[in-house]
Symmetry: C2
Subunit: 225 residues, 2 copies
DNA sequence: CCAAAAGTGTTAGCGTTACACCCATGT
DNA sequence: ACATGGGTGTAACGCTAACACTTTTGG
């Protein structure tokens, strides 16, 4: 076995957002280099003295202006690029509230935009594979851990939550049963507050409390949708 | 952001085996370098023109002499080592039948041995974290995909399979219910053969057929233990 | 009043759980 | 005979799926 000398190690972020009940993904159009003019996943490089998670968070901050977003590594991908140099990329997925961040193209991008997950343009390199892998990861994870709330406002209705799952998992759910399932978990905390200015009966607003989840976990509770 | 120049990118393999109903892990004792004399995960480097999966498979082959083992990447880990150089490692886990491979220490190891998962010695670097992560990954995966068979002989009894799950998940299962669950899946193929030379009623031998699993999947079947 | 969404109630059926029990075989 | 594991039966329970129904609100 020989020592590898890599050209570089990069970060690729699969950034998910939600528009109503439609799952969106944030892409950038590259302004320089071999892939100029094509859409791809936003990313960055890993600084020499930087934790890889920190590098991913920094790349995410540069693009969205938001910190403390839900961000998790899901896999490393290797490929040999056009110049026959090995490129290694570590892929993360993030959950973002689109309305609460100020998207700005970085130096090397000429455009940034949200795309419906069902209408993604051709992507550079192996980014389509990375996206598909990240989406599968999200679909699995969101059913087994209460992370979906990161895509919703702090206060949300049960219907919003249901539409989130319907949008991400691409299924339709029975409203009464979904409500019962959620409320029976004792995971959601009522805000004792109602929706405002809607043209129908106002729904109760709920919030997700990580502390409640912690204490339920200690009692052996397992989140499943 | 600055360009990273890594000292190296390595592979770490978390290699699982089964001894009866006890989950085992394969460790090496390092013979050279800063970690001489300590136990750690076996690994290797990534060749320049090598797929990262191939690099992991090669490292596994060097150690076990076996090919085509179950091997899957689960995560990349970054750390800054003693010389303040960044080290990046990509971690894989493998499932092995201990009796069907010839373990041999490579050049840089003075010993190789199986350890009970509940009795692992202190490990170098961040290998304990990697091991824990890999174990959690295995425990999850083995419940949702039929990969456990890679730890058993081709032909096995239902009790062996049950003990596999009990050992890996560290739970005890009800025998009648486990049997029914497995047989009702129609996933296992009877070999029309019985155990030989046992001091009790001989059990039926079964095998796992990937083709059967494929066809069940097409009908929407989902494997869960 | 109507539309739209919030909520509640009810039932059949399925799967899991827990445990009792009989069967076959080598020592 | 007995220990050991193979293998079957069954009843209670809880959860889910499916759908009918009532309630509240703005237009």
């Amino acid at each position: 076995m020989q020592t590898a000398v890599l050209k570089e190690v990069t970060i690729d972020n699969v950034i998910f957002g939600l528009d109503g009940n439609k799952l969106q993904i944030l892409l950038v159009k590259h302004a320089i280099g071999e892939s100029k003019g094509s859409w791809g996943l936003p990313g960055g490089r890993i600084g020499m003295n930087q934790d890889i998670d920190a590098a991913a968070a920094a790349a995410l901050y540069d693009l969205t202006g938001a910190r403390d977003l839900y961000l998790e590594q899901f896999r490393a991908f290797g490929r040999v690029d056009r110049a026959r140099e090995r490129v290694l990329t570590i892929a993360y997925y993030a959950l973002v509230r689109p309305e609460s961040c100020a998207i700005a193209p970085g130096e090397s991008a000429e455009a940034v935009a949200w795309f419906d997950i069902k209408d993604v343009p051709p992507l550079i390199f192996d980014h389509r594979e990375i996206l598909d892998f990240g989406l599968a990861f999200l679909r699995h994870k969101i059913r087994h851990e209460p992370i979906g709330f990161n895509l919703l406002p702090d206060k949300f209705t049960l219907l919003q939550l249901q539409e989130l799952y319907e949008g991400i998992l691409d299924v339709s759910l029975d409203k009464p049963n979904f409500r019962r399932k959620m409320t029976k978990m004792n995971l959601l905390v009522s805000c004792n507050e109602k929706q405002q200015g809607v043209a129908h009966r106002a729904a109760t607003l709920y919030r997700f409390d990580p502390a409640v989840y912690e204490s339920l976990m200690e009692q052996g509770f397992v989140f499943v949708v």
